[in-house]
Symmetry: C2
């Protein structure tokens, strides 16, 4: 699967992914009004507004980008109707030829991680029929439980040609509380990086592994170390834009081949119409056009810096 | 919320929780046949079999136990129909007066953790109406991202009178890879235990905090340390039974007041009819009676040991 992602990145000259993380406060009033007029003030209406919002952004940007990253929490907060919308947006993005990174951050003991891996990347058999429940292309995975919590995901990557990104150094302010603390001479996140290489060696797909890593744009020094420790690992880089990561900081996350990293922006793209420099040029009715402009600007910014 | 759980534990003399972690291989053929006859070989049929299985076990055991712990991964693997069944079992257990610990192991950066906390413990507003999406009483939380990934859950515990159990030392074989490694003089899990106390101080409910911890029965030495480091923290103890934890090992997890821990068994209870000593006395049609016997035996075993 990683080779497919790399092909799309190279073809579109776009080492970026758009995070489809809707929050009701970003969604224009006219979409919320349409939804509540049809479905009342219900979770179904909220989910319908989210879906309409995301589809419009996908329609306006899919030719520019290789991949999207829906954050399942933002759908899960609307209960079952939200999760139905999540599945619909996964399928819609596939119809548009996009690779879907399910930002699910799952991870548990072995038998339970296997169920999560089946849910998001694998297939399940009922009698003589086989189903792919959510069917994203990649999922994000939490490493706190160690190898037996990650291995079931790797096995399913190999079986179904899928990929994962394991949390190594996250973009949030308190990520250093545990991840940066010295553990037998090196920070915890470096130990996790070593394990990512070990896990990834069992799922190579060309020069890179289907087992990738998450390292936040907000920590460029750790990005440089992570890049060095994991030469064959693709790095998913959140935290650019709204969280404070700058393009000039991103070079460290890429290999000399110009590959090895894919940079995510969520709020900076999907809520562009509410932010400078777009809000004066685009009103709420043209939110998706603002997102397209923001993707173009992000591509110029990142391709100029790396 | 923790005081409510403690009351139920004391009233029923039962420091135990039954893990409702269905796997199609545990579910008797007659339930699967009923479901596929009605709904075909579909995810809906699998979910219906899971729901019928779990409801029968709840009916047979609810008077003996204070709480259940459905593992959401086991439902998520059946996609949307599975998650609908998850929500139905949460509601059904509430109707039976049981406390529901959603074993969801969520955790992300701050704004995303807030969405997970809303999904599972909180409420969301659409227009003028407010909904509680999944509405479990407790959720399990992964600490890898540090304070800003956990704090939104604590805030919602305080707002909605709910609780969480944070992963400290998990029950799986490879949990020591990171959790036991020395970090500035002490294993990582001890640092997490310290943070659990810090987070929990903001959500006290009587002698104990709404912020609990997960420590596996399979690691009694770490259980003893965790007990000492977190005197006001309730410990959810998975790993008893099928994973190898023994009653004699459990004493270390309890405080001198006889409180402070709640022991989970999943497969040992729900699949009792397939295991010694129950399989000779109960056939597949009487699987729920076997589960009731297994709960009684577990209570005797644990109450005898502590």
């Amino acid at each position: 699967m990683i080779s497919k992602l790399i092909n799309e990145i190279v073809n579109k000259k776009a080492p970026v992914v758009v995070g489809l993380d809707p929050n009701l406060k970003f969604i224009p009033e006219h979409l919320k009004k349409n939804a509540t007029e049809e479905k009342g003030e219900t979770l179904e209406a909220a989910a319908a507004a989210v879906l309409a919002f995301n589809k419009a952004i996908v329609d306006a940007t899919y030719d520019l980008i290789p991949a999207v990253k829906p954050q399942i929490a933002m759908y899960e907060q609307f209960g079952i109707p939200g999760l139905i919308a999540y599945k619909e947006i996964v399928d819609y993005c596939h119809e548009k030829g996009l690779i879907v990174i399910g930002d699910v951050k799952r991870g548990d003991i072995g038998s339970t991680s296997e169920s999560y891996a089946i849910a998001h990347l694998g297939e399940i058999t009922v009698g003589n029929k086989t189903y792919r429940p959510f069917d994203e292309d990649f999922a994000t995975v939490n490493p706190y439980l160690g190898t037996d919590g990650v291995k079931p995901f790797v096995d399913i990557c190999n079986k179904c040609d899928k990929g994962i990104f394991v949390l190594v150094k996250t973009s949030n302010p308190s990520s250093g509380e545990f991840q940066d603390k010295d553990m037998e001479g090196r920070p915890l996140y470096e130990h996790v990086a070593d394990k990512v290489c070990e896990w990834g060696a069992e799922s190579m797909d060309g020069e890179y592994s289907n087992v990738g890593a998450v390292v936040g744009a907000t920590y460029p020094a750790q990005g440089e170390t992570a890049r060095r420790l994991m030469p064959h690992t693709y790095i998913l880089v959140p935290g650019y834009g709204a969280q404070g990561g700058k393009a000039s900081d991103l070079k460290a996350f890429f290999n000399k081949d110009g590959l090895g990293a894919i940079v995510n922006s969520s709020r900076g793209i999907i809520a562009a119409y509410t932010k400078e420099p777009y809000k004066d040029r685009f009103d709420a009715l043209h939110f998706a056009d603002a997102s397209r402009e923001a993707v173009k600007d992000m591509l110029e910014d990142i391709n100029g810096a790396i």
